[in-house]
C-alpha cells in the first residue's frame, strides 16, 4: 500500500485521495493551500453575502435568516457563535436526531440552545425504523449509520422548504478537509450529488424498499430530499464556512470550551486520542471500526493526520497513535449487536465481502490480517523532504490535556461514559432521545 509521505493516509482512503509527485496526498495539499488564501478578502465576501440575506429577511418579516444544521458538537457551537454573535444573524438550528446519543451530546445540545438563545427544530427518527435501516445498510454496504448521514444531509432541506429559509450554513467541508476533494479556489457549495454519492453511498431512500429489508416509505420520511422544483423555486443554497474562514477545529473547540461551556469527554476512548470530536453519538466507534475492517485504517489515522497537518504532532508520533487505536475492537460493539439483533459472527460475515483486497488477506488459519500499515512506512524515502514544520502548540502538551488523551498525561482519569454505557444492555437505555 502506498501511504502519504506527510500524513498517515493510505492510497485506499475514503472517499478517495491521490498523491502528487512528492508522494503527498490531496488532503495535505488542500490544508497547505490555505496559506495562499487572502482570508480577509474571503471574510469580507462572507460578511457581505450574509448582509444581503439579513436585509432581505427583515423586509419579508421572516424571523429566521438562515438554517444551521447542528448536532451539538464543537462545530455546531462555533457555527452558531459565528452566525449569531459575530454576524448578527438569527439562525434556526435544525437537528436530525439519530437515536444513538451520548448523554454528553444531549448535554451539549442543551447547552448550545441555551447559550446562544436560538430556536431549535429537532426531528426524532423512531427507533424501530432506525433499527431496520441500520441493519439493512450494515449488511448491504457495511454502514450502520447510513440514516445519520442521510438525515443530517436531508432534513435541513426539508425545513428550508417548509419554513422558506433558503440559506443553509454548514461548517467545514468534511471531505475536502480529509481527502482534499475540492480546492479552496472553487468555493464549493452543497450539492445533492455529494449527499447522494458520499454521504448516502449512492442510495436514495427508494433504493432501500424491498422484501429483504422490510423497509417501507413510512420508515423513510426524513430522508426524502425536496424536489428539484422546490429547491429551485426557493433558491436554496448551502454554503461552507470553511471556504470563508481559516478553519481550525482545535482552536475553535478551545474557544467554545472557554467561552460557551462546551464539554468534552474525559478518560480514554476506544478508537481515538481526541476528546473533543464526535462527542454526540456512541455509534461512531463501531462505525469507525467498520472502516478499519473494510479499509485497514481508522479514526486515529484521521485525527493524527489532522494534527500532523497543523504541525502539532510529528508523523512518527502519529504512527504511534495508529498503532494504539486503529485496530481496537470498540466495547460498544456488543451493545450494537444486541440492538441490531445479530451475532458477532454474523457481523463479521456480513463485512467479509467488503474487505478491501488491497489491504486485507486471509492467512493459512483462515484469519483476516492486514498486509500493510503506515507503521511499516515510518522511514520511507522522501518523508523528511515534505515534513510540516512543528508549531509550539504540541498535541500532547499539558495545556491540551482536556482536548487529547495521552497515557503519560492522564493517569487515573475516570473511564469515559461510552464505555460505561457499553455494559448496559437495555436497548431502551441505549437509545437516548
Amino acid at each position: 500500500m502506498e501511504y502519504c509521505k506527510r500524513c498517515l493516509y493510505p492510497a485506499n482512503a475514503k472517499p478517495a485521495i491521490i498523491f502528487d509527485e512528492e508522494g503527498v496526498c490531496s488532503g495535505c495539499r488542500y490544508h497547505e493551500s490555505r496559506q495562499n488564501i487572502d482570508w480577509r478578502e474571503r471574510e469580507k465576501l462572507l460578511r457581505e453575502f450574509l448582509e444581503t440575506y439579513k436585509k432581505k429577511f427583515k423586509e419579508k418579516g421572516n424571523p429566521y435568516d438562515c438554517i444551521i444544521p447542528v448536532s451539538g458538537g464543537k462545530d455546531s457551537h462555533y457555527q452558531t457563535y459565528l452566525m449569531k454573535v459575530v454576524y448578527g444573524m438569527n439562525p434556526l438550528l435544525v437537528t436530525y436526531n439519530h437515536a444513538f446519543n451520548t448523554p454528553l451530546g444531549i448535554r451539549n445540545l442543551n447547552n448550545l440552545v441555551t447559550q446562544f438563545g436560538c430556536d431549535l427544530i429537532r426531528f426524532t427518527a423512531n427507533p424501530t425504523s432506525v433499527r431496520k435501516i441500520s441493519r439493512y445498510m450494515l449488511k448491504k454496504v457495511g454502514d450502520l449509520t447510513w440514516h445519520y448521514h442521510a438525515g443530517i444531509r436531508t432534513f435541513p432541506f426539508q425545513v428550508a422548504v417548509k419554513y422558506k429559509i433558503p440559506l443553509i450554513v454548514w461548517g467545514e467541508h468534511g471531505f475536502a478537509e480529509l481527502t482534499g476533494m475540492f480546492t479552496l479556489e472553487d468555493m464549493v457549495e452543497f450539492t445533492k450529488w455529494t449527499r447522494q454519492e458520499h454521504d448516502m453511498r449512492g442510495f436514495e431512500p427508494d433504493d432501500l424498499i424491498n422484501d429483504e429489508s422490510g423497509i417501507t416509505w413510512n420508515d423513510l420520511a426524513p430522508y426524502v430530499y425536496p424536489t428539484y422544483e422546490e429547491i429551485e423555486e426557493l433558491g436554496v443554497r448551502g454554503i461552507y464556512l470553511s471556504n470563508f474562514l481559516y478553519w481550525n477545529a482545535k482552536e475553535q473547540a478551545d474557544f467554545v470550551i472557554s467561552n460557551y461551556n462546551f464539554k468534552t469527554f474525559s478518560g480514554k476512548r476506544d478508537r481515538t486520542f481526541s476528546l473533543y470530536t464526535k462527542t454526540d453519538d456512541h455509534a461512531n466507534d463501531v462505525h469507525d471500526y467498520l472502516k478499519y475492517l473494510k479499509f485497514g485504517y481508522g479514526r486515529a489515522t484521521d485525527d493524527a493526520s489532522m494534527e500532523i497537518r497543523h504541525g502539532r504532532m510529528s508523523r512518527e508520533e502519529g504512527i504511534e497513535m495508529v498503532k494504539q487505536y486503529d485496530h481496537v475492537r470498540p466495547r460498544t460493539l456488543d451493545t450494537y449487536l444486541k440492538f441490531l439483533e445479530i451475532t458477532e459472527a454474523e457481523f463479521y460475515d456480513w463485512i467479509e465481502p467488503m474487505r478491501d483486497p488491497d489491504i486485507w488477506e486471509k492467512n493459512d488459519q483462515g484469519k483476516w490480517v492486514v498486509n500493510d500499515s503506515v507503521v511499516n512506512h515510518a522511514h520511507d524515502e522522501g518523508i523528511d523532504h515534505v515534513r510540516v514544520q512543528q508549531v509550539g502548540d504540541k498535541t500532547f502538551s499539558e495545556h491540551n490535556k482536556g482536548l487529547y488523551y495521552h497515557d503519560g498525561l492522564e493517569e487515573n482519569r475516570e473511564s469515559n461514559e461510552v464505555a460505561v454505557r457499553a455494559n448496559r444492555m437495555d436497548t431502551l437505555d441505549f437509545i437516548v432521545l
Partner: protein, 252 residues
Amino acid sequence: MLKKRLIPVLILRDGMVVQSVRFKHTNVIHWKPLTAVDFFDRWAVDEIIVLDVSRNKKQRNKFYQVVEELSQKCFVPLTVGGWIDSVNEIRKLLRLGGDKVVINTEAVRRPTLIAECAQVFGSQCIVVSIDARMKEDGTCEVYIDRGQEATGLDPVGWAREVQKLGAGEIFLNCIERDGFRQGYELGLLQQVTAAVDIPVIAMGGVFSWQHLVDGITLGGAEAVAAANIFHYTEHSTKKAKDYLRQAGIDVR
C-alpha cells in the same frame, strides 16, 4: 444553424473523476462517475465527454466498466476518449455504449488512423482532440501523451490537417488554461475556428458562465465544454444553460 451545445467533461483517472489543473490531477471529485452523469443528464446538457487520463493502462478495465455503466444511464450522446490507438479499440468503446470517440496522441503519431476510422465509423463519430501549449514567444505548439510530448506541430495547421483526414469535430484544449479558472484561450480558439469548417468544441479554463458565452461569441466555438466547474454547485449545468440563453445564444 445548429444549436450551440453545452458539454460537461469527466476527467477519469483509474475509474475516478479527478480535477485537472494544467494537466496535473490535484484531487478526486467523484469515486463514482455515475453520480455525476446522472445529475448532469437531468440538468439539460447536450452531450457528455469522458476522457481516460490515467497514467498507464493498468486499470483500463475500470474505464471500460465506467463507459458501460454510464451509457446505460446517459440519455445524451456519450463521447469517450483517452488511450485510443486502433480501430479495434474504438469498436470496443462503441460496443460498450459510446456514441463518438476522441483521439489525440495516436492521431499525431499515425495520422492515417483518422482517415481509417472516418472510413469505418463515419466522420461524425471521430473527434480529434488537440492539446496546445503556449510558448514564450506567443506561438502555440501541439502536445501529445497527456501534455508531455512536444510534436512541433502548429495547432492551426494541424486542425486543418485533421479536417482533411476526415475528423468530424475538434476538441481544443490549451494546457496552460486547463483548470486555471481564467477562461478559454480565445486567441487560439478564434484562429482554429476560422481555419476549419468542422465544429470546434472549446475546452479549458472555464470559471464563470460568461467564459462559456465568450467561447461562442468571441471564440466562434460550436460547442463549449468544461470539467471542474460543473461539480461545484447545485444545478450547475442548468444555470449555465440559462445564462447562455439569456446572452442570446441559441441553445436547446
